[in-house]
């Protein structure tokens, strides 16, 4: 059984096109939970999240980049986190603190759906 986790995503305001280096500052606690943190890239192209299923762990960073002309968002189904509007070429990084596993979608195009799976340590 999984304990309910604190629902929290730290949405970086670091904006577009700075796909270079992300240095999450508020992760000290989460990082302890598992190995080195990783950056996952999700592309939004042709009205799809690619990949549409992602496994991450607390401490990781997820970067969404919109390659479409149409603006999109990545938004938790329960609205607990949201990248906000991403125009063509823009990126937003979200730091996985203790996000719960679950689905997300595009607020502008609700048929665009994807899944985020967050690994939790049983012993936490």
């Amino acid at each position: 059984m999984k304990l309910p986790t604190r629902r929290e995503a730290l949405v970086n305001t670091a904006a577009a096109l700075s796909a270079a280096v992300f240095t999450p500052t508020s992760l000290s606690r989460a990082i302890a939970s598992d190995g080195p943190s990783i950056t996952h890239n999700v592309e939004i192209r042709k009205f799809k999240f690619v990949p549409d299923h992602l496994l991450a762990k607390p401490g990781d960073t997820i970067v969404w980049t919109n390659l479409d002309i149409a603006p999109h968002t990545a938004t938790a189904n329960d609205r607990s986190w949201d990248t906000g509007m991403l125009k063509k070429g823009q990126s937003k990084s979200v730091t996985v603190s203790e996000i719960e596993s679950g689905g997300y979608f595009c607020r502008f195009h609700p048929h665009m759906k994807a899944e985020l799976q967050i690994e939790q340590k049983d012993s936490l």
Partner: protein, 176 residues
Amino acid sequence: MKIKSSLMAMGLAVSLFHATAFAQSPAELNDLEIAHVAYVADNIDIRYAHLALAISKNPEVREFANTMIRDHEAVNEQALALLKKLNAQPQDNFLSKSLQINAEKLIDEMSKLRGDEFDKRYAANELAYHKAVNDLVENAFIPNIENAEVKALFEAGLQIFKAHEGHATMMVGKLK
């Protein structure tokens, strides 16, 4: 060399735009005329969306209308940037004109409706409109566009408008 028009696209164009008789066919338009039609078609959908925002109280309909404005403006922005780069001016033509005339009539008609009646009419029109424009773009325009960059933009646009068509289908279903 131009490929002759697909009959399907022509038929759709005729039924959608209620043009009495075409001297020309959509497949015979040049790139700059096609660009003009697309720009007009984009702006018509933006006008429908503003009408929906002025009348509808249904949150889903309003969300949809906002998406139409956001997406069609994004496409227009790219189209204008490309035309500027190519140093070209879109050319008015028979199809742009009949689209405009038909849109005026529809806006007139829809602006008299309220509540559910408006929402259903707007949703049905969005579905029919995107369907017709998509068939036109896919079957009459894209095969005939000569400039590669213009063609690529239309292909990207088609993808967006197909997503809208799917979205409109969902909306029509929910409003039943």
